[in-house]
Subunit: 410 residues, 2 copies
C-alpha cells in the first residue's frame, strides 16, 4: 500500500527536482515600495509538458490570452513569469504586446523560445504594465534564480496580493522504490482586492507526462477543488492554473501506465490542488468562517451545484454566518432561489450532523446545538433534497463588514 | 392632452373611492411591543376583480400559496389581510392551515366568502404564526377600519419590517371629465431583515377592469419596475404584488376601451409600481447609493438583463460604490462573468454621460469627473456592448458594512 504525504507550507516548486525559482521586488505597484516582492520566475532545467485551466470570464486579461495561445501551440515549456500588483487586464492591444514582450525577454535571457514561457499577472485592472520596471526585475530574477527552499518561498511570496500568507504545498509518494513529487504555490481568489483580481496556482511534477494525460488529470482536479470554492462569487479576468511536468525522475505516467501509478498521480495532483484551494478560502479577505456546503439528493448535478452556489453566494446567508446565527430559514430561501428542482416538503437541512429541518419541518428544540456548531471557525451545512442521487460540495465563506470596508476603494 | 399626477407619500389605498383600511398592533413579533402596528386590513365596499404576481422562489410561503389558489379560483375579492413580524414561511401544512384560517376569520367577520380575501405575511421564516394574537388583531381591524387618510396610513405602517418609512403613492388622471385613481402601498424588498423576507405591494383602482386585462396590465408593469430592482440579489419566499379593481367609478377599462384610456390606465399602474419600487430601493437596508445600471447594445434582452444583474449583484462592485470609488474595471470584470455575449474591444462604459472606457480603452484623464459623479447619492452607469439592439435597466444599491452588521443575526 502506497501512501501520499501532503505537506503544507513548504518551499513549493523548488521541492520538485529540476525546478528553480526566484522572487524579486520591482515596485510594479509604483507605490515606492522597493522591498515588496512582486515578480516570480519559475524555471525548469529541462523542457516540460504543460496543461492549464483558465477563467471563464468573457473579459480575459492579456496574459491569459498568451497562456492559452502558447498551450494551443503545443510545444514544450520551460517556465512561468508571474507578477503581482498589476493584472494587465482591460489593457487592449498594448497589454497583449506587453505580455508577449515579457515572454520574449525571459526567453532571450535564457536562450529559449518565447513560446516556452507562460506569463501570468494579478493586481489592478486597467493600468498599463510598467514594462521598464518589469524588465529590470526579470533580469534580476534570471540572475538570482536557484533551487533552494528560500528561492521557492520568495517566488510564493512574490505572487501574493491581498493574501495574508504564502500558499504552498508538497505532495510526495513512493512508487516502485522511487520518490515522486507534485508541488505548487498559489495566491488568493474570490477575496479580490480593490482592482485586484485573480486566483493563480502553479503546480509542478518530476514525472514525464504526455500533454493530453496531464490536461485531463489537471482538469479533473481543478473541477473538484479550485472550481468548488467561493468567497464573493466574482470570477476574475486572470484566474489561471498551470502544471508543468519536467520528467526529471525519468519515470513516465500516462494512459498506458499501471492503474496504481495513474491513480496515485491523479490523487497527488488532486491533493495538491485541494490543499491550495483550501488555503485560498481560509485566507479569504477578512473572513471569519469557512463553511462546507454539501448538497445531496439533487435531481441532477447541475441542480446540486446551483443550490450549493445559491447558498454560498447569498449575502443574507453569508452575513448570518458572520453573526454566528444558525439561520436555516435563509438557507431554505436561498436554495429556493437557485432555479433547481426542489420540494420544500422533502427538504432536510443539517448543521454538521444535527438536523435543523427534516422533510420540511424545523427542529426548533435543537437550536442550542446549531448555535454551538456555527460558533466554530469551520462547519458544514448539508441540504438533502431527496429528489435524486446527485450531489455537490462547495467551500464557502462568511461576509464580514471588514470585506466591505477593504473593498471600498483602491 | 391628459396628464397623470403622481403623488408620493399619500394615504395610499384610502385615496381610492370605495376602499377602507385599518392598521392595528397585535404583537406578532412576540417581543412585548404592544404599540407597533403589525396587521393591516384592506377592504373594498364592492366586490373587486384582482390580479397578482408572486415570488419565483421554489420555496413559497403559505400565504403565497393561498393567494395563488384564490386567484386561480377566479371569483371576486373584497380585500387583503397582511401581517408583518412573521412570514409564515417554511411552516409546512400548519402554516397553510393558519393562512386559510386567517382568510376564513376575516370573511366570517364581514359575512363574505373566505375566497374573497387574500392573505400576505412578512417577517421571520420558520416560526408558527401566533394565531390567537392575529385573530384578536383581525377583529379589532374589522371594527376599526375606515376610509380616512389616517386609516390608509396606519395600514401602510402595519406592513413594514426593516423599512425606515412607509411607502405609498397615488396616481390620478382625468378622462372624459371624470377623475380616476390608482393608489398603493408597499414594504421593502431585497433589503431583507434577519429572517425577514419580503417585498409586498398592494394596489387599488376605482375602475372596473376585467380580470385578464388587469393581470396583463399588472404583469407588464411589474416586469419593468419591481422586477428591475436589486438590493442583495436574494429573492424572498413571500414576494407578492396584488391589484384590486372595485369599479366604484362606474367606468370600465379593458381590451375594447378607447386606446387613449387603455394607455392612460396602463401608464397609471406602471407609474404607481415604479414609484413604489423606487421607494423600496431608496429605503434599502443601510444603503448609501442608488445606482441605475443601464445596459445597451446587447445581442439579446436576456444578455442585457444578465449583464445588468451581474453588475448590480457583484459584491466587489457594490463595495466600490459604497466607497465612492469609480472602479470601472470591476464593472467590466462583472460584465464578463455574466455569461452573456460580450466583446471587450467593443465595450463602452459611462458614469452618467462621462466615458470611463470606449471600445475597450480607458479614458484615464476623465477620472476626476468619474470621482465626482459617484459621490452623488444617485448616479447611472451605462454599458454599451455594441453587439445588438437589446437593453435593460436595473435599479441597484451599494453594499455597506451596516448591511452586514444588520443581517448578522436575528
Amino acid at each position: 500500500m502506497t501512501h501520499l504525504t501532503v505537506t503544507p507550507d513548504t518551499a513549493g516548486i523548488t521541492d520538485v527536482p529540476g525546478f528553480e525559482a526566484a522572487g524579486v521586488p520591482c515596485d510594479l505597484r509604483q507605490k515606492n515600495d522597493p522591498k515588496r516582492l512582486d515578480l516570480a520566475l519559475l524555471f525548469s532545467l529541462r523542457p516540460c509538458t504543460a496543461a492549464g485551466t483558465f477563467t471563464k470570464n468573457t473579459v480575459k486579461a492579456a496574459p491569459v490570452l498568451l497562456c492559452e495561445q502558447h498551450l494551443a501551440e503545443g510545444g514544450t515549456f520551460h517556465g512561468i513569469v508571474a507578477n503581482s500588483g498589476n493584472a494587465n487586464a482591460c489593457t487592449g492591444a498594448d497589454g497583449l504586446r506587453d505580455a508577449h514582450a515579457t515572454a520574449q525577454r525571459a526567453a532571450a535571457s535564457l536562450n529559449l523560445k518565447p513560446s516556452s514561457f507562460f506569463v501570468c499577472s494579478t493586481g489592478r485592472i486597467g493600468q498599463p504594465l510598467p514594462m521598464d520596471r518589469l524588465v529590470k526585475g526579470l533580469e534580476r530574477a534570471v540572475s538570482e534564480k536557484g533551487r533552494t527552499p528560500a528561492h521557492g518561498r520568495k517566488a510564493a511570496d512574490a505572487i501574493l496580493t491581498s493574501d495574508t500568507r504564502a500558499k504552498t504545498v508538497t505532495v510526495t509518494f513512493t512508487y516502485d522504490g522511487k520518490k515522486h513529487v507534485v508541488a505548487g504555490l498559489a495566491k488568493g481568489a474570490g477575496m479580490i482586492q480593490p482592482n485586484m483580481a485573480t486566483m493563480l496556482a502553479f503546480l509542478a511534477t518530476d514525472f514525464s507526462v504526455p500533454r493530453s494525460f496531464l490536461q485531463k488529470t489537471l482538469s479533473e482536479a481543478v473541477a473538484g477543488t479550485f472550481n468548488c470554492i467561493s468567497v464573493d462569487g466574482d470570477m476574475s479576468t486572470n484566474d489561471t492554473v498551470l502544471i508543468l511536468a519536467n520528467g526529471y525522475s525519468g519515470v513516465s505516467v500516462g494512459d498506458k501506465s499501471p492503474r496504481e501509478l495513474r491513480v496515485l498521480f491523479a490523487e497527488a495532483v488532486w491533493k495538491a490542488c485541494d490543499a491550495l484551494a483550501d488555503k485560498i478560502v481560509s485566507d479569504g479577505e477578512k473572513i471569519t468562517k469557512v463553511v462546507e456546503v454539501r448538497v445531496a439528493g439533487a435531481a441532477s448535478s447541475e441542480d446540486a451545484e446551483k443550490v450549493a452556489r445559491a447558498i454560498g453566494n447569498s449575502l443574507l446567508v453569508k452575513s448570518s454566518w458572520n453573526g454566528e446565527d444558525p439561520n436555516w430559514g435563509r438557507l431554505a430561501a436561498a436554495a429556493g432561489c437557485a432555479g433547481a428542482k426542489l420540494n420544500e416538503a422533502k427538504l432536510d437541512i443539517f448543521y454538521n450532523d444535527t438536523p435543523a429541518m427534516t422533510a420540511g419541518k424545523p427542529h426548533a428544540d435543537l437550536k442550542p446545538k446549531w448555535k454551538e456548531i456555527v460558533r466554530a471557525r469551520r462547519f458544514t451545512v448539508t441540504l438533502n433534497l431527496h429528489l435524486g442521487k446527485a450531489g455537490y460540495r462547495l467551500l464557502a465563506t462568511d461576509l464580514s463588514e471588514g470585506y466591505v470596508n477593504y473593498n471600498k476603494s483602491e
